[in-house]
Symmetry: C2
Subunit: 339 residues, 2 copies
């Protein structure tokens, strides 16, 4: 269920994602598509996968968003499996998934095809290879809109060129607490990368979780983009580790107190809003990673980041809830998970 | 060890205390006594008890403060067994105690004799009867300074008359949180009583613990004073219970959250100062008494109120500590107690 549950690694780099934006040649972009043409996009892409010579894509399943309930859709967005934009266009949109949601192919989002591969840990190359194979599988039976000069043509010019967005999700509590995160922001933008919060553009860095992704899609090869993101990520990880070491040296009792108090609140609070909850999880996660807290499984914490999201927790609780009631259910889910 | 450990009752009224101030006829008050005369006061009172016809006072033990270490003295003050004033005069002062510290006879404090009986719960009459018997035992062999008009003569005129101070220690979190404590303060002073913090005059109501005692010692009989204090106490208890009911009705989740978060912090914090610690204990105690928290033994909480005091915790830890280190030891003592 959780988007963190795909490998054994769980450090500063939570996940790696590769996303390709593709459009079908000779078809208007989704926002200009008729209902029937939207339907045709979905059918053509799905049958292209089923007809493909590559076996691994034949087990993918198609979900039309109009057949799903809203909570389920929102929960998928919380797991980063689909985007909120796809939900906006739910009457004409679909998504093709594998069982563990590592592969997600959104249809009729901003582009006809948004192909995503997500891994836990720093696995950009692996994700890129997977995405490439699936991309090839689709292309066996579909002609992409492609220009020799501009590369893949996309609905929004920021995606033109490779059509690729490579991103990593990073947990940077020490850089945040020591206020060094601003230096990171500068460094990142200087190398053509952008840094954002847990849920993309405009979202705050809830729980000290940041997304770093390539800004530029044109004029660089996929390999160059990925290598550059890997290099930046390793630099940030290095900085975060140094900040943690400094914190541990400078104020070890205060730090120990802080992370354990956070654990105490998570284990005992009866009402928790998303923001507070993510910040507490962040501190406990820091404590576990620094070897201060030994009794908590970091996998549980990673799962909780998704489980406590509004839609996901309503699914867990099997009912729609007002915000106040969600805070109560959230506290209960956290308590039970950390028992 | 703990001054709360003497009966099974443990509610809003933590303890009841009766204290008699007495002076020996024909002797200057302690502040004007020579070393040898101070010694004589101690010897005379102790031997009066040993010679007495009343058996229960023959097991009392004498401790000269000059033979005790400072931490031990401070810890006794934290248990309310002796006063801080007695410690000030430690070179000439002594205390006579029974094994469980229910009876405490301070010698050469402000008066030659300060006889105290302390009970858990609302037990003023019982404490008064005990104090009376011990007072009679002393008087078999000692002549008190007594005036037909002014009653027992005391060093400070506020104690003249009965020489009696009757007091109760109350835990009033709900009245404090709902800000109704100010009404109580007024009511109490209107009936000749005074209300103070955990450690007497000038001390704040740390941990929402208040001491109510009679202001007036002259012109009223002991019985009248005690009956009046019992009546006031019952009224305050009634008000506290009503305030708790209202809190439970008005904001039950917020209350539950508050008391459980306090428990979480007590169980997990790595550093706790006295003030925060007492306030957290107060909230958890409220939660237990209101039936919200079921997994904590209220006796442990009552014990903690004393155990976390600076001198007592240094005794537990068997070493002298700086304030910062005390906070760490305090958190450890609390964690282990609540395990």
């Amino acid at each position: 269920m959780s988007f963190f549950a795909k490998s054994n690694d769980s450090g500063i780099v939570l996940t790696s994602r590769i996303r390709f934006a593709r459009n079908i040649d000779g078809m208007p972009f989704p926002q200009a598509l008729s209902d029937s043409a939207s339907r045709k996009v979905i059918d053509d892409v799905y049958s292209a996968l089923l007809k493909s010579s590559i076996n691994e894509v034949k087990n993918l399943k198609l979900f039309n968003l109009k057949d799903m309930d809203k909570l389920n859709m929102m929960a998928m967005a919380e797991r980063h499996v689909i985007s909120r934009d796809l939900i906006e266009n739910f009457q004409r949109a679909a998504v093709i998934l594998d069982d563990d949601e590592k592969i997600s192919i959104m249809l009729n989002e901003e582009d006809h095809i948004r192909l995503q591969v997500m891994y836990k840990g720093l696995m950009l190359k692996e994700a890129f290879e997977d995405a490439n194979r699936i991309d090839d599988a689709i292309e066996e039976n579909i002609t992409y809109a492609f220009d020799a000069k501009f590369g893949y043509l996309t609905s929004c010019p920021t995606n033109v060129g490779t059509g690729m967005r490579a991103s990593v999700m990073l947990h940077l509590p020490a850089l945040t607490y020591t206020k060094n995160i601003n230096n990171i922001l500068n460094t990142v933008s200087q190398v053509g990368m952008t840094i954002r919060g847990l849920y993309g553009e405009g979202s705050n860095a809830l729980g000290n979780i940041y997304q770093v992704s390539n800004q530029v899609t044109l004029g660089l090869s996929e390999e160059e983009i990925i290598n550059s993101l890997i290099a930046v990520t390793k630099k940030i990880v290095d900085q975060e580790e140094k900040a943690r070491e400094l914190m541990a040296q400078k104020r070890s009792i205060a730090l120990e107190d802080d992370v354990y108090r956070s654990l105490g609140l998570l284990k005992f609070a009866r009402t928790l809003d998303t923001n507070e909850c993510l910040n507490l999880i962040s501190k406990v996660r820091l404590g576990v990673e620094m070897g201060i807290i030994k009794e908590v499984d970091i996998k549980k914490l990673n799962e909780l980041i998704t489980l406590i999201q509004p839609a996901t927790l309503q699914l867990v609780d099997k009912r729609e809830l007002e915000s106040k009631d969600r805070d109560v259910v959230r506290a209960k889910i956290v308590r039970e998970s950390l028992k």
